[in-house]
């Protein structure tokens, strides 16, 4: 089966003007590789600053003007050029954003989710999409400030599924929701996947991601450090990269141990493995050259000694 989305060695950097006329290239994403299959929820997990949202923006082709993208991005097996992305977004590739702040405060819900398209069939589509998520036709005449947090998310999903998307990018769709509402929201994503769409679920909440994801991609400092089936997170042993293992140990049910240190940002990247300074199993080789993204059992990991480091 062709993956619906493939990223290979994707990098996104920004040009900023430094002192005087010097230009500084700020890396946002450095080396990101992942695949998302149709019918599956692929969770992209990382702390803030790891480049999660940039990935979403790159897929949708809405990176800011001063950015530069390199590497390969394939949608349904063919390169996803900015022009192709522009033609597909809103129809085949859709975004489910964070919350009500993403709705125009001065526009009613109905016209907003119809996105400027008119006609009786669009109206029916719109009503059906709202109905699917338990929202009555009266929702169409509400303004965003009249929606509750949960309603706003459902409106955003309804807006996304209106035209039967093939790739749903959900960028941190849960903050501000209580556990039950978040669970309900995630079940909607799972349902979309079951109907054949690929879902890219971007979040910082590993625990939540594991409740719906088929596959987990872990980001650290703009790199993918591990891609693993969700079952890999059942035990620490199922994980190959020490950062994923650290994330596993940081989950409440696994001991709540937090790894000391901070994720490097922007230009402060160390040579060799970005995680090496915090890695408990660091060896001299880790501080040199490029670390390859190698195949592991059922996934991939960016580590010279996958699965070897395990501290307890």
């Amino acid at each position: 089966m062709t993956p619906i989305l493939t990223a290979e060695s994707l990098s996104v950097s920004f040009t900023r003007y430094g002192r005087g006329l010097s230009r500084v290239e700020l890396p946002g994403i450095r080396d990101l590789s992942l695949t998302a299959d149709p019918g599956q929820v692929t969770a992209v997990v990382g702390s803030s600053g790891s480049g999660k949202s940039l990935l979403a923006h790159a897929v949708l082709g809405i990176l800011p003007r001063n950015s530069r993208m390199e590497g390969t991005l394939l949608y349904d097996g063919a390169p996803l050029s900015p022009r192709r992305a522009a033609a597909l977004r809103g129809r085949e590739i859709v975004l489910v954003p964070q919350g009500a702040g993403c709705l125009d405060p001065m526009m009613q819900v109905g016209p907003q989710i119809r996105r400027g398209r008119r006609g009786p069939e669009v109206r029916t589509q719109c009503r059906q999409a709202l109905e699917r998520y338990g929202l009555g036709p009266e929702t169409e005449t509400l303004y965003p400030f009249q929606l509750s947090g949960g309603m706003a998310r459902r409106v955003l999903i309804a807006s996304a599924v209106m035209e039967g998307p093939r790739l749903v990018v959900a960028d941190e769709p849960t903050p501000g929701l209580d556990a039950r509402a978040a669970g309900r929201l995630l079940s909607h994503f799972r349902e979309l996947a079951d109907q054949g769409a690929g879902v890219l679920f971007i979040t910082h909440d590993l625990e939540l991601a594991l409740t719906v994801a088929h596959k987990v991609v872990v980001l650290y400092a703009g790199q993918t450090v591990e891609e693993v089936p969700a079952e890999g997170f059942r035990t620490e042993k199922g994980l190959a990269h020490p950062y994923s293992q650290a994330l596993w140990r940081a989950m409440p049910r696994n001991g709540f141990q937090v790894l000391p240190g901070l994720q490097p940002e922007g230009l402060d990247l160390p040579e060799g493995c970005a995680f090496a300074p915090r890695c408990p199993g660091r060896r001299p080789e880790c501080g040199r050259g490029q670390i390859p993204y190698i195949e592991t059992d059922g996934g991939r990991a960016r580590c010279l000694f996958p699965g070897e480091v395990s501290v307890s």
């Binding site: 809405i62 809103g90 975004l95 954003p97 405060p105 526009m107 400027g116 400030f145």
Partner: protein
């Protein structure tokens, strides 16, 4: 409903206080002015050759022999009854003079107000949507130059270019010189109002454009714009940005009435345009207290009306305010 009545009541009290304060301030400034109305209007030589009796009668006419407070209270008393007195210079009721002057100024004010609002909004939108690129730099540069140029200087410049060098537009006045009032056509009136209106609008554009630019640039950064782009929406500027920028722009537009009225005083002076602004200048320099107070009160009411309209429109347009009010 009760809420609205309360709102209207508060506004009315505020307006009464404003008008009282304006008239008092105008009166005190005039009373403290070193200009002697007798000397200015009759002339030093003529005054010197008059008998004491004649001078006394003139002093009584101009009111210079009554103590200031008594004069003000007298004016206030009749003003409250709706009588604003008689203009000392024009020898006609103040309200009649103001009505006539306002009639010819209104063309000017309205044109300038609409033009500066519409142009300023469009330019600001274009600049804000292209922040940092050439349209933005061009608009911002022009606006900064315009807003630092005094309006009377702009008026003189326009006069020099269009009337003196190119000779395409009249040099001043509201109608052709020597023409009979009945024979003046609308086209002629418009031709005469064109340059003053232009001068007045140009000075108003800068403020509105810069403000709209700032607001537009802010809105362009908001999440809902990014989301609209992510969902492949077209015409984002028209569908979303205009909607969100229009509200503050409308408020600003109505609040700018004050600036337009203020600017008209200078512009009308430069173009010898017989409007309210010019009447204000002659009333001030000629010591015509009733006319000046009348003009002060009328213009203050105009400006207040503008701000009040802005407030009311805000509630009518912004769904957040409208729907909240409907709930009560």
């Amino acid at each position: 409903m009760r809420h609205r009545l309360g709102f209207a009541g508060k506004k009315l009290i505020r307006m009464a206080l404003l008008l009282l304060g304006t008239s008092l301030a105008a009166f005190l400034l005039m009373a403290a002015s070193p200009l002697d109305p007798l000397q200015t209007n009759i002339g030093q030589a003529a005054l010197g050759s008059m008998t004491r009796e004649q001078v006394d009668r003139l002093e009584e006419y101009w009111g210079t022999d009554t103590p200031p407070m008594e004069r003000y209270l007298g004016w206030l008393g009749s003003a409250l009854k709706g009588d604003f007195g008689t203009s000392l210079l024009y020898r006609r009721p103040v309200m009649e003079v103001i009505g006539q002057r306002l009639g010819s100024s209104l063309w000017l004010l309205l044109t300038a107000w609409t033009l500066s609002g519409a142009l300023g909004f469009v330019l600001g939108l274009a600049a804000g949507a292209n922040r940092g690129r050439w349209p933005d730099k061009l608009v911002r540069g022009c606006c900064l130059v315009l807003s630092s140029a005094p309006v009377f200087w702009l008026a003189l410049l326009l006069l020099m270019v269009f009337s003196v060098w190119l000779k395409v537009l009249p040099i001043g006045l509201a109608v052709p010189i020597g023409a009979e009032a009945a024979s003046v056509t609308l086209a002629q009136r418009l031709r005469h109002a064109l340059l003053p209106a232009l001068a007045l609008s140009i000075s108003g554009i800068a403020g509105i454009a810069l403000h709209t630019r700032e607001k537009t640039a802010d809105e362009m950064e908001r999440d809902y714009i990014l989301y609209a782009r992510a969902m492949g929406e077209r015409h984002i500027l028209l569908r979303h940005v205009v909607r969100n920028v229009a509200l503050p722009a409308i408020t600003l537009q109505f609040a700018s009435i004050g600036e337009i009225v203020g600017g008209s005083v200078l512009v009308e002076q430069v173009f010898s345009y017989p409007g309210l602004g010019q009447a204000a200048v002659s009333a001030g320099l000629g010591g015509d207290m009733p006319l000046l107070l009348g003009i002060a009160v009328v213009t203050a009411a105009l400006v207040f009306g503008g701000n009040l309209t802005a407030d009311l429109l805000y509630g009518a347009i912004d769904p957040r305010i409208r729907r909240e009010a409907a709930k009560r």
